[in-house]
């Protein structure tokens, strides 16, 4: 393998017809280039879409109550009910492997009426009563002030954290926000912080939310013990999709819902959605690999072709070498190594060019700012290693037929060709 003479010979053969070698190499180079760029583009799309999920804990479900559809234990069908604040503790006690359970209440909503007043300005915003943990499930960056904490919860402080969208609607450009008061459905709340959400999923809507302490919300808006809905996140090791049945069963038991009443409790499993997107990108990656490898294949056929010609040209030389006593296997190895060497070198050039193009696109994206659904295309070291393995195997395949034909020629016939 690391035989000096063999390598010298490989270089001599490949450089004896430089342009032919370059054109042949181009086929492989192009194939691997396409493969790398396609994979990077797929990754860029993936990054872009996944950014829409933001840092949202994807192992999360949302759960709310609806009317029962079955009579049970003397209670009629069509009965409405609410989750209670004590349900949270019950879930925590009975279902293991849950990381966060956030009870939430909500005012307003899409297309709602104006519910918030500040001076002479008004606006319609979503107002949430929340526990501090919500910032882990629905991540946001606090840009000034602070987020809700447990002192606010315990003391039922009427404080609010507002989104940048809210600030833009209700405040003058350089008006002081922190410490000012906004009136939510007639109740004054002091603004203690502003936030900005990174995920573009909510878009404008995501920045137009107001978070207040859950307890203050309940008191101010007469919710009592009621919980509007819950956001539940499982531990990293376990999937919420598997735990959700247990949670829902627990809720049915506590609220006297028929065990087979599947419509009384509504839910949305974010993890399932996320998995669907994941598998979409899996498919995309497979397509990139298939297309890339197909293009690479035509390059490899080119290499194989050239190696056949090289063998043909060197028929006489091979004859001489065999007359001098070179083993057939040694000749075969020589041809195979030439082919692998050519493939790998040209493949490396392809990888380098692909990386340069990706680098160029990245710096272009950086300079023009974020583009919808596309973000930092890249390939991992694993992909590059994979590409090199593909190259190695293809070099071997490309050289196989020529090497076989090289040793099929009998020395006497080889020497006869003038």
């Amino acid at each position: 393998m690391f035989n000096r003479d063999r390598w010298r010979e490989i270089l001599e053969v490949l450089t004896s017809n430089v342009w032919r070698t370059i054109f042949t190499a181009f086929g492989v180079c192009w194939g691997i280039f396409i493969l790398i760029v396609l994979l990077a583009a797929g990754k860029g799309l993936e990054n872009g879409i996944k950014q829409d999920f933001g840092d949202t804990a994807t192992n999360t479900m949302f759960m709310w109550t609806r009317a029962t559809t079955k009579a049970y234990e003397g209670l009629p069908q069509g009965r409405g009910f609410n989750f209670k604040i004590s349900d949270v503790q019950a879930i925590r006690d009975n279902v293991p492997n849950l990381r966060f359970i956030s009870p939430r209440n909500q005012l307003g909503g899409f297309g709602g009426n104006n519910n918030v007043v500040k001076g002479i300005r008004t606006g319609a915003f979503n107002v949430y009563g929340d526990y501090p943990e919500i910032i882990n499930q629905d991540p946001m960056a606090v840009t000034s002030g602070r987020f809700i904490n447990y002192n606010d919860i315990d003391e039922k402080r009427k404080v609010a954290v507002i989104g940048l969208g809210v600030k833009n609607d209700l405040y003058e450009k350089d008006e002081e926000v922190l410490g000012s008061y906004i009136k939510i459905q007639g109740v004054n709340f002091m603004v203690i912080g502003t936030y900005k959400k990174n995920n573009s999923g909510g878009g404008e809507e995501g920045q137009k939310e107001i978070f207040v302490p859950f307890t203050a919300f309940s008191q101010a808006f007469n919710q009592g013990e009621n919980v509007g809905w819950m956001a539940i996140t499982a531990n990293d090791g376990s999937s919420i999709s598997q735990l959700k049945d247990k949670i829902i069963d627990e809720m049915k038991k506590r609220h006297k819902v028929h065990p087979e009443d599947n419509r009384a409790i509504g839910y949305f499993d974010l993890y399932e959605q996320y998995n669907r997107v994941e598998s979409l990108f899996g498919a995309l990656k497979a397509v990139a690999y298939i297309v890339g490898i197909m293009v690479l294949l035509s390059g490899i056929i080119g290499v194989s072709n050239i190696m056949l010609i090289v063998v043909k040209e060197r028929t006489k030389e091979i004859g001489i070498r065999r007359a001098l006593g070179e083993q057939p296997w040694s000749i075969k190895k020589q041809i195979l190594m030439e082919s692998i060497f050519l493939t790998i070198i040209s493949g490396m050039v392809g990888i380098i060019f692909g990386s340069l193009v990706i680098y160029g696109i990245n710096s272009l994206l950086d300079s023009v700012g974020p583009v919808d659904m596309f973000m930092s295309p890249s390939v991992s070291v694993g992909v590059v290693t994979g590409a090199l393995i593909i190259l190695m195997v293809s070099g071997l395949l490309a050289g196989f037929i020529p090497a076989q034909s090289a040793i099929r020629v009998r020395p006497i016939e080889a020497l006869r060709t003038e």
Partner: protein, 233 residues
Amino acid sequence: MIEIKDLHKSYKMGSNSLHVLKGINFKVEEGELVAIMGSSGSGKSTLLNILGMLDGADSGEYTLDNVPIKNLSETKAAQYRNKFLGFIFQSFNLINYKSALENVALPLYYQKVPRKERQEKAMKYLDRVGLKPWAAHLPSELSGGQKQRVAIARAMAAEPKVLLADEPTGALDSKTSYEVMDLIQKINDDGNTILVVTHEEDIAHMCKRIVHLKDGVIVEDKKIEQVRAEQYV
């Protein structure tokens, strides 16, 4: 050294077959310098190919240095060629992108002799054919006679039992031919067994024995008084 009994060889040419060797019996002792003569089509090249294990016989026995040569695999044949035989061709058959020294070292490379030893040995043989100063030159930078001398050095590098020369002077003018023959004679003087295929009378008479082939049979086999090539150089 070489013993051949009742050797037959025919080539298939479409539907009819061409019977080239029709029962050759032939023996060469160690240290002999034998010329094989014959017009074209007499079967002399075929005989040499069979002796050189480049081609197989249809029937008959061939023993080289007490080793029966029969039904060899390509790998085995390559091994035997490397160990037993040195080839000298009419068209020199040097590898044109390798220097003279590398060409000479080639058979040693196939014997897996270490690089340094290989080059020393090759240099020694190159020196023996008087081409030490040309060691680094490519074949294209050498004259015909020089090329053939490199080829002879290459044939001898592996220290084979027998040297087989196929028209070694066929591509050379008479002056260089005699130089090459002088070299071959000197190598023979050192005790090497050499077979020379030729159709030139004067070259044949520089050997010690002439075997005449005609239409696939030996018609004459005689020992002769050797003409030294030295006097023409």
